[in-house]
Amino acid sequence: MILKKVILSGFKSFPDKTEFDFDAGITCIVGPNGCGKSNVVDAVKWVLGEQSAKSLRGDQMMDMIFNGSSSRKSSGCAQVDLIFDNSDRTLAVEQLEVAVSRRLFRSGESEYLLNLQPCRLKDVRELFLDTGVGVDAYSVIEQGRVDILLKSNPQERRLIFEEAA
């Protein structure tokens, strides 16, 4: 399975639909402080089902929607899509290309989508079961958090370890 694309629309500092294409190798994302790099990481966590706004650096989930700037009004909706190449059938579905999406509206209404079909978070979790992808896996190491396993006490460390393994 290959992660082909991450698409952000109205998510945090990305009011305009923005696509990042990834290949099989190493992709680096660079830019000045505050330009939005970590927001892309938050977007990936969010679309994979992150439930804690705090873990996305916000106070409430509404903080994920573009809040406006001196030159733009705020967005009405935040959406993130992950597009996977599933030709090796890692994901137990028919399609060779799988899109996982999450939307949140100002009204508070929120939904998950699998190939544009509304689904539940439960379905997203089941899709990724045992693939090494998910909010509890080690696939996302946030800024300042690389040594979290070292800083934890033996019991916390064990819980983190269990979740991933």
């Binding site: 680096c28 330009c35 460390r157």
Partner: protein, 163 residues
Amino acid sequence: SRERFAAIFQQVRDHFQQMFRKLFGGGKADLVLDPTCPDILEAGIEILAKPPGKELQAISLMSGGEKTMTAIALLMSIFRAKPSPFVFLDEVDAALDEANNERFNAIVREFLDQSQFIIITHSKRTMQVAGTLYGITMQEPGVSRRVSVRFEQNRDEVASAVA
């Protein structure tokens, strides 16, 4: 289940012992389940790390860069036992000196057989190993935009443009 946990733990432990020595050019490290706890599903996990030439001490006494390298060794060991198809790393190289930054780059390359890596960094050294480089800019106040660059052409250009 107990067997499953014990199996994965042992794999991660074996990898960690080797990975640490590889990243530190020597020394010794281990992952240990709390021996005072009878049930391995309850036992806390202890990390022991002894950089080359130094004595074994509490990992709290290690330096910022040494802790990052130890954490990377542990992370990569978990990946060997339980691969992730893609990995996002956000400025994990912040505390590393140039030599360790190179070792980090080298270990990431070794894992390309099992994972894609998306690395956020300010380090020009880390940027060197990228096959693809994306810049993010905020020309319009508060609005992020992506600038994409194929590395072979203008690596230094985008690196300086976005720094």
